[in-house]
């Protein structure tokens, strides 16, 4: 059930330079599954899609971790506790939890990291093994939630393009290592499309690989067909899938990357 809500900001933090995390009080949003998102009114013509970095059902709270990239996120990041936001959600399909007996690994880049954190929070303790988390960024300053993942008991591997922290390079190398040592492992990935394309390529033939995509959106609820990406529909035919309602989380075999 999708709701149109006015929800208060109850807490605001700045976890990294240019990033702001906003806690919202909302029983409706707190029913979300990790990977789902909300669409928020800012100042532009369209709402802005933002995932949940934390989902606290017990306390009826969710959080959003924003990177300031343009006018909409700048406006949102400037809001203070007490402000009411105009939010539509929860939207889209979230991640399915890992199969009880299978190992799992999370691969995140940039603002793809927050929904993965929500996933580990939700399932971290009910699974076969503690998950491995591979985080990539251009620079160490852009890494998000490293300590939080560690606090949940995850094995965290870091890569930076410029080598300022962890391995120099992309997430591909540590992911290859992990895949080699976990032949039946499942992967959850969220981040820039080229990263997701790598993950899809490296995991080809496996099942239980979930990728969360981004696309520019219009309506956020499946009506406008703006947010499409190439993939295979229910019929198995190649065509366009909607990130807002068919996703944002897809099984890798549903998607077509060129």
């Amino acid at each position: 059930m999708i709701h149109l809500l006015r929800v208060p900001i109850i807490r605001r933090e700045e976890p990294a330079p240019g990033h702001v995390e906003l806690w919202l009080q909302s029983p409706e949003l707190a029913t979300s599954t990790p990977g789902q998102f909300a669409d928020v009114v800012t100042e532009g013509m369209l709402r802005r899609p933002i995932s949940f970095s934390r989902i606290d059902r017990a306390n009826h709270q969710v959080a959003m971790l924003l990177q300031v990239v343009g006018d909409g996120t700048r406006w949102l990041a400037a809001q203070r506790p007490g402000t009411m936001l105009d939010v539509m959600g929860p939207l889209g399909n979230g991640f399915l939890p890992p199969a009880p007996a299978r190992d799992w690994c999370l691969v995140g880049g940039g603002v793809g990291i927050p929904p993965l954190y929500a996933a580990v929070q939700a399932w971290g303790t009910h699974t076969a093994s503690r998950p491995t988390v591979i985080l990539g960024a251009r620079d160490q300053q852009l890494l998000l939630l490293v300590d939080e993942f560690q606090a949940l008991g995850c094995v965290v591997e870091i890569t930076t393009d410029n080598g300022t922290r962890g391995r120099r390079g992309t997430v591909e190398a540590p992911l290859c290592d992990w895949l080699d040592s976990h032949p039946d492992g499942q992967v959850y990935a969220c981040g820039p499309t080229p990263m997701l394309a790598s993950v899809a390529r490296l995991t080809q033939g496996r099942t239980g690989i979930f990728l969360a995509l981004e696309q520019r959106m219009g309506c956020g609820i499946g009506a406008c067909l703006a947010c499409v990406i190439p993939g295979y529909g229910v019929s198995g035919q190649a065509g366009y899938l909607r990130v807002c309602t068919d996703g944002p989380v897809f099984r890798s075999e549903e998607l077509i990357f060129e």
Binding site: L46, L225, V228
Partner: protein, 314 residues
Amino acid sequence: MKLSVNLPRGLVLKNPIVAASGTFGFGPEYKDLVNIGDLGGVSVKGVSPEPWPGNPPPRVWETTGGLLNSIGLQNHGVEAFCAHDLPFLRDTGTAVIVNIIGHTVEEYQRVAERLAKEPGVSALEVNISCPNIKQGGMSFGHDPDQAYLVTQAVRKGSDLPMMVKLSPNVPSPAVIAEAVQSAGADMISAINTLVGLAIDKERRRPALGGTTGGLSGPAIKPIALRVVYEVAQRVKIPIIGMGGITTASDVVEFLMAGAHAVMVGTVTFQYPRRMQEIVAQLPDELLRWGFSSVQEAVGAALPSKRGGLFDALT
């Protein structure tokens, strides 16, 4: 206040606020959020005889006061529409307007014939902004003769109330309106989007996957009002006006310019309940400007209603 609008061939809208084609899906998408039965009508996204794939993403881009889209008329074809979408809409109690598209005159006629057989269709809206693939891709809506032929074919295909939707990308949409009126159109809807483009400086290419896109939203309201105002003076059939409406005050402007009803599009993305809010506010807004019914406002700013004052100095 009486808000209902009587249109040709028995089409009745319970109020003059209709969801614009392409912004309200094929029917069920907004059902969690909008009480669809409260709307005057819903015009569904363009439906073609066979499925159309649409354009590569990205398909939307924001501009000042406007939205560019290059959806490219993606739809799963008239059969799927009749099987999966129409049954939902039919039961909502709103007027169901099916926006139809084709690449040839025959394609338009085929969709119209198919829909004529299907219960629950209140009216057809003929989108003539599609490229005519037999005539080198030039839009049907850019040439009065082409527009005439499409309208005539749809008229042959169906007895449903029919409106033809004008493109604003021509010097005189009123000339097209005259042509479709003489070909048997019952109503005009106007305007469709203006062709625009955005540059993605980072990727050094046009921002939209479809290169150009259609501009909608408040940015185009003055152009929409001009088209309605001009067309209203050239044809006798009613006009459904649209382009950039976001408030009840905007609706009154379109009525005064000569529209009998309006469609509301882009604003729904940001405020899904705005159409219902406008319906609720419309009576007060009409009274504020001295009108005691929708009908009274229609054309109130046209020269014919202003007793020749029209070109006088203020």
